[in-house]
């Protein structure tokens, strides 16, 4: 992600009051991760598996914290079982949309093909962020959606921001 866009993601998280994040670092969201690690506003929990990451988020939510997981969309596939089982324990997912229209990586095409169908199959509301000027508002809307649905929600950061 471009540095200016990453700064806006961090600002969006602050405005939305999300100060706890589990992270499995990845290429497109690396700049966001770097900013989060350097900002004392955030408590970061690095994880080795996205399924564990969403479970830790669910536990934090049970304890009253606003939290999210930062991961690649390939991690959605890893986390599907935990997300499906932990119904009603809302987890907010922030994902780079690898395999998006125009992504030159051949290895990412399976991520592009499966991400939205999986979110739909899991009944997880989501939005794709494509412009800098919508980053902050869409992070805030994601929290409102998560609260309204009382369930998981997802934001996909598209190739235009990279």
């Amino acid at each position: 992600m471009r540095k200016d866009a990453a700064v806006l993601v961090v600002e969006g998280l602050k405005v939305a009051g999300i100060n706890h994040l589990t992270v499995l670092s990845e290429s497109w969201l690396f700049e966001v991760h770097r900013h989060l690690e350097n900002d004392p506003f955030f408590t970061i929990v690095p994880v080795s598996n996205e399924g564990d990451g969403v479970s830790i988020c669910a536990g934090m939510w049970l304890g009253g914290k606003r939290c999210a997981i930062l991961m690649e969309n390939s991690g959605l596939r890893v986390a599907c079982e935990a997300l499906a089982r932990l119904q009603g324990l809302p987890v907010l997912m922030l994902m780079g949309y690898r395999g998006d229209w125009g992504d030159p990586a051949w290895w990412a095409t399976s991520m592009g093909a499966t991400t939205e169908p999986l979110l739909k199959a899991l009944h997880i509301p989501y939005s794709i962020v494509r412009r800098d000027d919508e980053i902050v508002s869409k992070v805030g809307q994601a929290v409102k959606t998560q609260n309204a649905y009382r369930s998981h929600a997802a934001l996909l950061f598209g190739g235009e921001l990279m």
Partner: protein
């Protein structure tokens, strides 16, 4: 040593405000049958008990959190122990009931029946206070430590295959969630479930905006 006797010891030693996350299957029914506690969250989700407990412990560092996990469940998310080790929350106790099998679905062996030592795995993940116990006295001492001493504390309770004759739990994850969350809200003085909307229109808006006003 069997699981129901261990659960009875935990029930006896556990303060009312200890937050407990319970694994699925027969363990859920046995814990439920021993008596209702608002401070219990039941998770019908293999592999999530220890990481959810970790998240809860990190969210509420002043509250004791105890995971009641099982070998089959923990083996599905063994990597979560690396995060317990790296975060090292002082308020977390993890108790794993290890009977070496997937007991609730017929008893096929788990990897702990063929050599995997969960206490050694936990130590290898950086959880220094990690031990296995296999008799009632040792379990009581280990349980007391998991409930009181600075954590993270990891206890493997090596139990026999044994399913107690208890009534199955009748609540689902949603009822369990709302009960647990309302309990946390009440005891912590916080709001977890947001209201549908903040602020309402003035009931005189209609009259003020029409000829009726």
């Amino acid at each position: 040593m069997n699981r129901l006797d261990c659960l009875k010891v935990l029930k006896e030693l556990m303060p009312d405000d200890t937050l407990v996350v319970v694994t699925l299957g027969v363990t859920t029914d046995e814990w439920y049958d021993l008596g209702h506690r608002d401070a219990t969250m039941y998770l019908p989700a293999m592999g999530t008990i220890t990481p959810v407990s970790l998240g809860l412990a990190l969210a509420l560092p002043h509250r004791r959190v105890v995971a009641l996990d099982s070998d089959g469940s923990l083996l599905l998310s063994l990597g979560s122990l690396t995060v317990v080790g790296s975060q090292a929350p002082k308020n977390l106790g993890v108790i794993v009931f290890d009977n070496g099998c997937y007991e609730s679905i017929g008893g096929a062996p788990t990897a702990t029946a063929t050599g995997t030592d969960l206490a050694m795995v936990a130590r290898g993940c950086g959880i220094k206070d990690s031990a296995s116990v296999s008799d009632d006295g040792a379990f009581r001492a280990a349980a007391k430590r998991a409930l009181e001493e600075p954590g993270p504390i990891f206890v493997v309770a090596r139990i026999k295959r044994s399913i107690a004759k208890v009534k199955p739990k009748t609540t689902d994850i949603f009822e369990d969630k709302y009960r647990f969350v309302r309990y946390v809200e009440k005891t912590e003085g916080i709001e977890i479930l947001s209201p549908a909307g903040r602020g309402r229109r003035d009931p005189n808006d209609w009259n003020a905006a029409t000829r009726g006003g």
